[in-house]
Amino acid sequence: MIRAEIYRIQRGWTFWSLLGVAIFLNVLAAYGTQSQMGHVEFATTALNRSATQQLIGLGFGASLCSMIFGAVIITRDFGNLSIGRDALLARGPVRLLGMRALASGAPMLSFGLAGAGSVLVVAALALPRTGASLDLGGHGWTILVGVVGSVVLAGYFGQLVAWQSRRSLWTVAGLVAWTLLIEPRLITLVSSVGRFLPGGATQGMLMDTSSITNILTPASAYIVYIGWLALLSVFAVHRLRSTDLR
């Protein structure tokens, strides 16, 4: 069954088109940010690292596409009623939840690597034009790993939300509104609480202090985000055990 899930997830346009959009938007954001940077005559190590971190941190933009992908691979099966057959072959909806999480590991990782890789390439190519150069020293690697981690975890966040909501349009609209509008405001307005939200934890993973300064440490941020996923998994299992599949 797991092979069937992996085979099916990678068929169709959803995965490849969202991956393409994620790369395109990341490249656009990184180039846009680089073009705002002034030219320097003598780049110091600190300046190189700062410019590199500024650009690679933008890789987390792929998380929205990863989140949508995670959601859609669940909701579309509720939409076309094929979820019942999938659950039968998986020997129960709860096992299906686990299998789909496993099967989507590789696609989620692809989003993470594409998110990190796209900004890394832009940083390597574009920074020399400003007189600076790519330098992953300092917190560079931590941020790069944070990009991969946050994008992968965002995919699972979308997937677990979708087990609750089950409808494609509302789920995608809700995730976009939450990620782009509601959550950033909550984090800024009540940072002491907001930093524990998934988006706040993402800022911790990326060591991003642009909107709040009291971010979580990277290690705490991973724990908090995984905690959210664990909580959502409990809710998803409860819903699958207590409701019909159609």
Partner: protein
């Protein structure tokens, strides 16, 4: 040694808020039977089939397929196949890809895909996306997918909807062939004449089982009158109670 019935429903009830879809349904189906399920719209036929397939949770009672809970069968592909809605397929997949997922999910040999394409007459549209197919073509694809592993029990909900005469005849041969092999089939339909051609037993229901017995004999008109009277009497009885 006790032989388990293929399917057993024990006091199954299903409520959606104040609406009762099923009420104390008792049903036992033996291997090799083809049960025709009749009832007016809203009688709970689809709900009953959903309970049998493990995708609808009964509010009361329990369903068993070979003594197991339908949603967690040890060999699901070989035990239970269902086509409850021709739309219940992954529309973004091509026909060949859909069959491939079934083969992978059921652990069948890879060659089963090509065999199924020939056996079920899907070669003309094997590489088309499912969402571009007609209802009848989708129904064929759905059936090919569930029959690819020769399940012991096949559950079909109004399978002739949207099918042309040729496809109906094709489906009839499949069902009769299964019965001849000793496999079990449950078919719901509004088409009494078609059900009489394939069923070995008839069940009439309207939230409860009203009739469970041999396929009625007589002309199509006589059987339709029998059915109308049956459902009508039950409706009037409910109205009196209300």
């Amino acid at each position: 040694m006790t032989v388990l019935p293929t399917i057993e429903l024990r006091s199954v009830g299903k409520r959606y808020g104040a609406t009762t879809a099923l009420e104390t349904v008792e049903l036992s189906i033996e291997p090799g039977e083809c049960v025709g399920l009749l009832g007016p719209n809203g009688a709970g036929k689809s709900t009953l089939l959903g309970v049998l397939c493990g995708i609808i949770r009964p509010s009361d009672g329990e369903a068993r397929v070979y003594g197991q809970t339908p949603g967690v069968l040890t060999e699901p592909g070989a035990t239970l196949g269902f086509a409850l809605d021709p739309a219940g397929l992954h529309g973004e997949l091509r026909v060949r890809e859909h069959l491939r997922t079934e083969v992978l999910a059921q652990g069948l040999p890879a060659g089963s895909v090509a065999e199924a394409i020939l056996k079920f007459g899907l070669d003309a549209y094997a590489d088309r996306k499912i969402r571009t197919l007609s209802t009848g073509q989708r129904q064929r694809v759905a059936l090919a997918g569930v029959l690819i592993g020769d399940p012991a029990v096949l559950v079909l909900d109004e399978p002739t909807n949207g099918l042309d005469i040729e496809a109906v005849q094709w489906l009839r041969q499949i069902i009769l062939g299964r019965t001849a092999q000793g496999l079990t089939t449950i078919v719901s339909s509004h088409n009494i004449a078609e059900l009489r051609r394939v069923a070995t037993r008839m069940v009439v229901m309207r939230t409860q089982v009203l009739y469970d017995g041999p396929v009625p004999v007589g002309s199509d008109d006589e059987v339709e009158q029998w059915y109308t009277l049956f459902v009508g009497v039950s409706r009037r009885r409910d109205e009196v109670v209300l």
